[in-house]
Amino acid sequence: MICVTDSLRFRHVVYRNYRVWRKLLLASIVGNLVDPLFWLVGLGFGLGSLLPTVGGMPYLEFLGSGMICYGVMYSASFEALWSAFARLKQQRTWEGILHAPMTITDIVVGEWVWAALKGMLSGIAILAVMTALGLVHGFMALWALPVMLLTGLAFSGIALVITALAKSYDHFVYYFTLFITPMMLVSGVFFPTAQLPRAVQLVAQVLPLSHATRLARGLVLGRPVENAALHVAALALVALLGVILARKLVARRLR
């Protein structure tokens, strides 16, 4: 955080977004819980019953631990794209905040942290569903929480860069279609990356979602994680580059 902002005032932006979110608390929590439940029940039991084991574990466990990262990515991205863009453009919320003793850094860092927290919330909901279904093995799973936060920061960082560059909401559809969706398919959420052609594997293993799934899967299922430091460093790098670039782009846009 030290290298990104020199002030804790970004917390006021987090608080603002939290207050808005609180108004839709029930819908948000139900959505966060029900959506992954359907996926797990549908795909996990439906598809899982046809499969013996995947990556050396029951399919439901494989899928659930991947879904945690997918849920974090999806929520954090959505918040830092559509919602943040509304505050940047339609609602002029950021412009209003700048009239107080707040800076563009405070706003961008606040949105970055907030979107990551929202992503983390989705991940926690999936973890809770998995726990209820008896899919979680041991207290190592609690270490998945900081991994979720880091994953959220990585995806909200990239998404804020897109938001800062966007002219309209249409741009986000490209981002999802060309980046988020393919990444979801090749990063080991639904099936192991090892099933893919060699060339795709090479690309897939550097994608941020791959680093997240490798970390989360091991922690949630109580298995060793290979190269854990490397995965953490990769996510942290994406997160920091994202927020630093987003800050520069927003400053240029609102000058």
């Binding site: 006021h12 108004k23 609602q91 919320t93």
Partner: protein
């Protein structure tokens, strides 16, 4: 309270502020007038540290800007040209959340909100969503929001643009109340009656530079003849060529209406008795006449 010296600002190749200098003292109401694109808003944004100037020195409430803009903005209230009230919140929440951006505690904000609601005349609407407010109510709320930190200086960018006459008068009355409390106001406007009513001093800005600066009445006395005769109708051009050119100190056409500026209007008025077909208005010169004289009648789109 505010000192601006040698301010320059370019956007790309376009120099929107070209060497602006002025001072505003405590308790004063200072108006920046100018056509669209004159550089008023950019000047204000530079004063607040929201846009970095290319050259020039700005001191706001003894603090150098943009170097210490954050501290300066903590002591200032800002009313922007376009409403940016937070549509995700109610009236009361808008005030409370904005107070948090200033680092005020929950209890400090809670103590201040009733006063601000009362000031805005929105106590009954405290829990209404922003969408339910009229344009005038939104503007009053935006002004009240700018007072959340009890600022000594307020910056208002076109505070009454888009409001109906009733709402404008209410806003003026609220602003006068703030001046009565000893606060300093810096506003931009292109309503001359607004400037004439509120401002102790005005500056007329065009193409990024100041072209005049004085108290409104002094500007009218200095820059323009005291009486204006406006006339239009069939045969106006003939009357204009024979009489107006000769008898008015200055005369010009805007469309098909003749504007004749006079020190002594009687000889010119006498010629009009022979032209009952012309419709005539005699009035005192105002700030708008000065403005049009100095910035021209061409449209600025």
């Amino acid at each position: 309270m505010l000192t601006v010296h040698g301010l320059h600002k370019k956007f790309g190749a376009l120099e929107v502020v070209r060497g602006v200098s002025f001072e505003v003292s405590a308790g004063e109401c200072y108006g920046l007038l100018g056509p669209n694109g004159a550089g008023k808003t950019t000047t204000l944004r530079c004063c607040l540290g929201l846009t970095a100037p290319d050259a020039g020195e700005i001191t706001l409430d003894s603090l150098p800007v943009p170097a210490r803009a954050r501290e300066a903005r903590a002591r200032v209230g800002v009313v922007p040209q376009f409403d940016n009230l937070d549509p995700d919140f109610t009236v009361r929440e808008n005030l409370a959340i904005f107070g948090r951006y200033f680092g005020l505690s929950r209890s400090e904000v809670a103590a201040r909100v009733p006063y601000l609601l009362d000031y805005a005349g929105l106590t009954d609407k405290a829990d209404a969503p922003i969408d339910a407010l009229s344009g005038g109510m939104k503007r009053r709320l935006t002004i009240a929001r700018a007072l959340v930190n009890d600022p000594r200086v307020l910056f208002l960018d076109e505070p009454t643009t888009g409001l109906d006459p009733q709402a404008r008068h209410v806003v003026w009355e609220r602003l006068k109340r703030l001046l009565g409390q000893g606060r300093t106001i810096i506003l931009t406007t292109h309503f001359m009656d607004e400037a004439q009513r509120l401002c102790d001093r005005v500056a007329i800005m065009d193409h990024g530079a100041f072209i005049a600066e004085a108290p409104p009445h002094a500007l009218i006395e200095r820059e323009i003849e005291p009486i204006v005769i406006e006339a239009y109708g069939d045969g106006i051009h003939a009357w204009f060529d024979t009489h107006a050119r000769r008898l008015a100190a200055r005369a010009e056409f805007s469309g098909d209406t003749a504007f004749c500026y006079c020190r002594d209007p009687e000889p010119l008025l006498a010629t009009l008795t022979d032209h009952p077909e012309l419709r005539v208005l005699r009035r005192a010169a105002n700030l708008e006449d000065v403005f049009l004289k100095l910035t021209g009648r061409d449209l600025r789109d």
